[in-house]
Symmetry: C2
């Protein structure tokens, strides 16, 4: 690995850069970002060796495209247009169907590996990047059979070095399931934050009463709207369905409360406690707080 290009030097791209620098000190990392301030910051803190110019893409061995999914859909085909035949292009988008469709007939489709590393924090920008973000995390790879074998190998070697575990999935299944375990959590958290902020407008000092339970549940409401709006847009159908089921469960909980069925409420909570065992299997980012 000689020349690595990172397009989008934020939390995700920057954390790849940090991991690569540790594992491959010889790698020369070139950064692109439409936000000039972020790009300068990435250079200043040593995430990248150089700001990129149009020439650099042609010479790259590996390109990470870590930008919001709406821009990804329009940029990925253009990036594939200019790279060389031995270069592997990797993305990290949270939606996969539209993106895979956008390059399905591209003549360089075999140079693209469609990835979704299940890793992140609620922070963004180059300063949020850290080495170790990907340690123990799952990387979901879609349509692996459409990527040239040698290029798969190059990318997978790096993912293994970074400590990631790999899961293969088709883009449609990915988008359906991720709506539940990721996209819905963000909406539930954003709307909880909104509800409490609205109540605060009537009642001052309400946040003086908030503890770490509230903080945990509302943490994702700190997330970037630039990143999340296009995710919801691209995964609209699945997200709406998961939201419907969530609202139905909340309505039923409210109805039980109203009619005083607290045995039913106890049972629902008791059954949902099963989440304890489930969560034991999820690798947690330890450096969050």
């Amino acid at each position: 690995m000689n020349k690595v290009v990172i397009i989008g030097v934020g939390l995700i791209g920057g954390s790849f850069a940090k991991g690569i620098k540790r594992l491959h000190p010889e790698a020369f990392i070139i950064g692109f970002d439409k936000n000039e301030e972020h790009l300068t910051e990435a250079l200043d803190i040593g995430l990248i060796n150089e700001k990129g110019s149009s020439e650099n893409l042609k010479e790259a061995d590996m390109v990470f495209v870590t930008i919001p999914v709406d821009v990804l859909v329009t940029e990925l085909p253009k990036i594939l247009d200019v790279i060389n035949d031995d270069c592997v292009v990797i993305d990290a988008g949270s939606t996969k169907s539209l993106l895979c469709q956008s390059v399905t007939n591209h003549k360089k489709r075999r140079n693209y590996l469609s990835c979704h590393p299940i890793a992140g924090t609620e922070f963004s920008g180059p300063s949020a990047a850290f080495d170790g973000l990907y340690e123990g995390k799952t990387n979901i790879i879609c349509e692996v059979e459409k990527t040239a074998f040698k290029l798969q190998e190059k990318a997978l070697d790096l993912f293994r070095e970074l400590g990631m575990r790999i899961r293969y999935m088709n883009p449609e299944a990915h988008d359906k399931h991720i709506a539940y375990v990721s996209h819905l959590s963000h909406i539930s958290s954003f709307m909880l934050g909104k509800t409490v902020i609205e109540e605060e407008q009537n009642e001052r000092d309400i946040f003086d009463m908030a503890g770490s339970g509230f903080e945990s549940t509302v943490r994702l409401a700190k997330s970037s709207p630039e990143m999340w709006t296009p995710i919801f847009e691209q995964n609209k159908e699945n997200v709406v369905k998961s939201l419907e089921e969530y609202i139905k469960n909340l309505e039923s909980f409210k109805a039980m409360m109203e009619k005083g069925d607290f045995e039913g409420i106890y049972d629902q909570m008791n059954n949902t406690n099963r989440i304890k065992q489930i969560l034991k299997g999820i690798p947690i980012t330890k450096t969050l707080n």
Copy 2:
């Protein structure tokens, strides 16, 4: 402080015991618990010096009643019946109106200080207790004017030594506000867990795709149904109202998605990002994971 009685030697009572033992090594701590296993465990791990007998209550200087709020309402008057005149009885219930009403005409009302320390984790039982749980946390005190001044002072001295900050509030305001910043978070989390578990019944391996964002949002769904069912029951009216507003916000988010109003969705998330500044003021329990 010589004789301290802890009724309910779980996370909350046990953490008071640990703090008191550090600050007042001379204190003799006597424990009660309807769960005999927990009581033995509390003795074994040194949370308490002795298991309690009916005689001990009469001799206590300070009694902590840290039990679920349904039992609290029936037990608190009985406890006040038997304590001596210089004893202060402190609770830690998450609902305050019904409890304050239950002792409003008690002849020993002045011996009771109505407290709600905003502290806790999703774990329970004696082994979950730790010294430092109350450091930097808010303790909401209700109807402080109804407690004998000398007894207020005794309790407040200890709270200050434990590093707590004090807020005074009437029980009705407490119950109204806490519905938003605590009770609603628990329901949103429990129902998120339920929704995802239901989806998992159709689709295996869904949790392989879950990351730390989901873990954080669903963390409170690990909480104890024994503790939370009576809280929801006692604060039914406020909780239902907060739940209505939460569902209304989710419905409106869903409607915006369905009609493709992603500018509106961006704006809502962007406005709710204000939670970042708000959360900076909330003391977080660092030892959670």
